[in-house]
Structures are given as structure tokens and as C-alpha cells.
Amino acid sequence: MGFSVSGSAAIIFVAIFLAFSTAYTASANGFERMTDAKTAVDEEALERQNTALSVANVTYDGGTDTLSVDVVNEGTTGLSVNATDLLVDNAYRDNFTARRVGGDNSTDLWLPGEQLHLELTTPTRPDRVKIVSGPGVAVTEVL
């Protein structure tokens, strides 16, 4: 009888050990995944809180059909030029003839205090222009 009890106890013990190691791995991975996601969302929310835009100038030149938009990064966080969207009368536009930050047309960084200059050709005079930054903070200008 001693062998029976010992053998059975050993099998049950090994099974419990394996089961709890599996459960622990799954729980730890899940917890880590959730923590990473929460951290990413918190960082994103902080970036959004630190983002502010202001339109410096929007002009339309009817002679050259050119719309020029100047927007200043009034926040305290650096933004991405490529992640910035422009809507002209609710139409998404990305065919810029010029897109530069402080005279530099190759940079993707739009740092606090810097002015983003956008130019594009549009055949008619637009009524409204909306600029949306990467974090989603937007500013609208009525011409």
C-alpha cells in the first residue's frame, strides 16, 4: 500500500507542478501584455495633452491656384510632419508642392515653437482648412 500511495502522490505532484507552471507563464505573459498596452496608451495620452497647434497664416493665391498654410507647434512635444494631415473643404490632401519646417523640406521633425509650411495647388478657393496632428489634435481655419 505504501508504494501505491507514494506513486499516486508523485504523479499528482508532478501534474500539479506542470499545471501551475503553465498557468503562471500564461498569467505573467498576459499581465505583461496588458501593462505594455496600458503604458503605450498613457504615453500617447500624455503626448496628446502636450500637443497644441495654432494657425499662423492661411492664404489662397488665385493667380497661381496655390493654397499656403502655416501652422505653429504651440505644444511641448515634438510632432511628425509625415503624420500631419491636411483637409481642404473636407477633402484629404497630400499632394503638397511644398512641405517644410523652418526652411528644411527633408525633416520629419516638427519641434515645439517651429512653423510648418504647407503649399498645394487647388483650382478653387477653399472655404475651410483643417490641420490634424499625429496625436489627433486638430485646428481649423475658415478663409
Binding site: S4, I11, A19, T22, G30, Y92, D94, V132
Partner: protein
């Protein structure tokens, strides 16, 4: 003595078989539970990472009278790539679920973070007045109000 040994052997084998059965059932149950935790955490983390923003300008025309189409631009402001297929983007226009929706990524191939999709809701046939569109992607909801 031989009969006692045989009885002990039978009891020994029986106890091992029962213990193995209990152990197998137990580990199988815990394994299923672990798989469930893994799948659920993946799903919840994707939901947490999902964030969208309607960037359409409500002051500009959103509804096209001639084609009965509502056009909405939605930006991925989260931290994960989303599926822009209309099967994964739920749209309610004035409380009515819409299936006649065309979804296009306007500034890329995929709906990655910072990319924008254009949702064209066909067959809208809206009357003059205030309207609202509710967009649900991966559990994240956004409401956009506009006037026709």
C-alpha cells in the same frame, strides 16, 4: 502470500491509473484555462491599444446629395495597426447599422498608426437637419455629428 502480492500489485496499478487520470484531467483543465487567459489578454491588449479619431471637418459638406453618400475620414491615433476592412469597422448612421460602406486607406497601404481611412457610406438618403455617425473599431467608439 502469492495472493497478497497479486492483490497489492492490482491495487498499486489501479491507484496509478486513477492518479494518472486525475492528473491528466487536472493538467488539461489548467492548460485550457491558460490558453483562455493568453487569448483574452491578447484581445484586451489590442482593445486597449486601439484608438481612432474622426478627423472630418463637420463644418464642410460631409454628405453628398447627388450620390447620397456620407464621407468620413478616420485617423488611427492608437498604437496598433487596425484592419480597415468594412467587416471590422461597424458604422451606425442615425442609429441604423450600415453595411453599404467602402473603406480606403488614403495615405498608405495599411491602416497603421497615424494613417487615415476614408469611409464612404452609400445609400444614406438623409433629410435636412442634424445627423450622427457612430464608428466602432475593435471596441473603440467615436461619434461624429454633422448637419446637412
Amino acid at each position: 502470500m502469492a495472493s497478497v502480492s497479486a492483490s497489492h500489485l492490482i491495487l498499486f496499478i489501479a491507484s496509478l491509473v486513477i492518479a494518472a487520470g486525475v492528473a491528466g484531467t487536472f493538467t488539461q483543465g489548467i492548460s485550457r484555462l491558460s490558453q483562455g487567459i493568453d487569448d483574452q489578454s491578447l484581445e484586451v491588449s489590442e482593445e486597449v491599444r486601439t484608438d481612432i479619431e474622426v478627423i472630418s471637418d463637420a463644418g464642410s459638406p460631409v454628405y453628398n446629395n447627388s450620390t447620397n453618400t456620407v464621407t468620413i475620414l478616420v485617423k488611427n491615433t492608437g498604437t496598433s495597426t487596425l484592419d480597415n476592412d468594412s467587416r471590422f469597422v461597424e458604422i451606425l448612421l442615425d442609429g441604423r447599422y450600415r453595411t453599404n460602406v467602402t473603406s480606403t486607406v488614403v495615405d498608405g497601404e495599411e491602416w497603421r498608426p497615424n494613417n487615415v481611412i476614408r469611409l464612404e457610406i452609400g445609400g444614406a438618403d438623409l433629410t435636412a437637419g442634424d445627423h450622427r455617425v457612430k464608428i466602432i473599431v475593435n471596441g473603440d467608439e467615436e461619434v461624429f455629428r454633422f448637419r446637412t
